[in-house]
Amino acid sequence: MDVQAAKMIGAGLAVFGLLGVGIGIGNIFSSLIQAISRNPESKSQVMPIGLLGFALTEAVAIFALVIAFLILFL
């Protein structure tokens, strides 16, 4: 197989981690919406935790993406 082709297939495989991240971010925001709609008073306390969880989960997606970029462009 051509090295260039193998690189592109590898980069595609590297972003498979986004599957789990999509599920994770969906879970976080569904729980956040449920928490706020059940108790709107708690919004100011729940929102920072939700955003923190979002950022931490998204970081995993970014790790996968960085690996894909490194394979593609380096």
Binding site: Q4, P48, L51, L52, F54, A55, L56, E58, A59, I62, F63, L65, V66, F69, F73, L74
Partner: protein, 248 residues
């Protein structure tokens, strides 16, 4: 393949470090680079903004003073909620970290500016600083009892060896995760922007409009990420400090 016939501009080119003038100190290359230039600019921006807006503080604040006060109260609240009352003395530390990262990220969003937070050595230096401060604070406050941080309360004794091993590893990997999170977010974000901008160049005048619109959307997303990642770095520092000060 069609993509290979037209050469895309390398999206990693923007992270290249260029020397502005050469400097050597004790055999080490400590040249002033574009990364150093933007770090200096960041510090100048923060100090300049704070000192200009607080030049003559009034009882009824003007607009610039209100921005300063909001920033101050934001960090104060963050420390109050996440560190606790003992964390008051760490206010300057947390404040500097937050605004250094925030202004660094935001200055990097200006076209042709350099994002120094996309260099892993910069974020790793910040993270290792946080790590050493937290560890030192823990040992100074608690002495040898600081090691009880590695054992959660109410755990059966036969699990101790396993848990201590895992907790030690996770404690030692803190600076790595802290730095890689910030570095990877900034680097990937800027690379995606460049990749989509490259698409709109390659796809021509008519079809190139679609990636351009997407680039605008991504730009907005990148501004959110720049602010959010500075917040995440600071709040994790606060949580680590809380662990060291109160031991669970």
């Amino acid at each position: 393949m069609a993509v290979n016939s037209i050469t895309l501009p390398n999206p990693l080119h923007q992270f290249e470090i260029r020397k502005i003038f050469h400097l050597e100190f004790g055999g080490l290359d400590v040249s002033f680079t574009n990364a150093s230039l933007f770090m200096v600019l960041t510090v100048l921006c923060i100090v300049g903004f704070m000192s200009i807006s607080l030049r003559s503080p009034k009882m009824i604040p003007d607009r610039a003073q209100i921005v300063c006060e909001v920033a101050y109260e934001f960090i104060e609240n963050m420390i109050h909620e996440n560190v606790g009352d003992k964390g008051k003395c760490f206010f300057p530390f947390i404040f500097s970290i937050f605004f250094f990262i925030l202004f660094g990220n935001l200055l990097g969003m200006i076209p042709y500016a350099y994002t120094f937070t996309s260099q892993i050595i910069v974020t790793f230096s910040l993270a290792i600083l946080v790590f050493f401060v937290v560890t030192l604070v823990g040992f100074i406050k608690h002495g040898v009892r600081f090691f009880t941080l590695l054992v959660p309360k109410g755990l059966p004794v036969f699990l101790y060896p396993l848990v201590i091993l895992i907790e030690t590893l996770s404690y030692l990997s803190r600076p790595v995760t802290l730095s890689v999170r910030l570095f990877a977010n900034m680097m990937a974000g800027h690379t995606i922007l460049k990749v989509f901008a490259g698409f709109s160049v390659v796809m021509g005048v008519y079809f190139g409009i679609a990636p351009s619109f997407f680039t605008v959307l991504l730009l907005g997303f990148e501004f959110m990420v720049a602010i959010l990642q500075a917040y995440v770095f600071t709040i994790l520092t606060c949580i680590y400090l809380h662990d060291a000060l109160y031991l669970h």
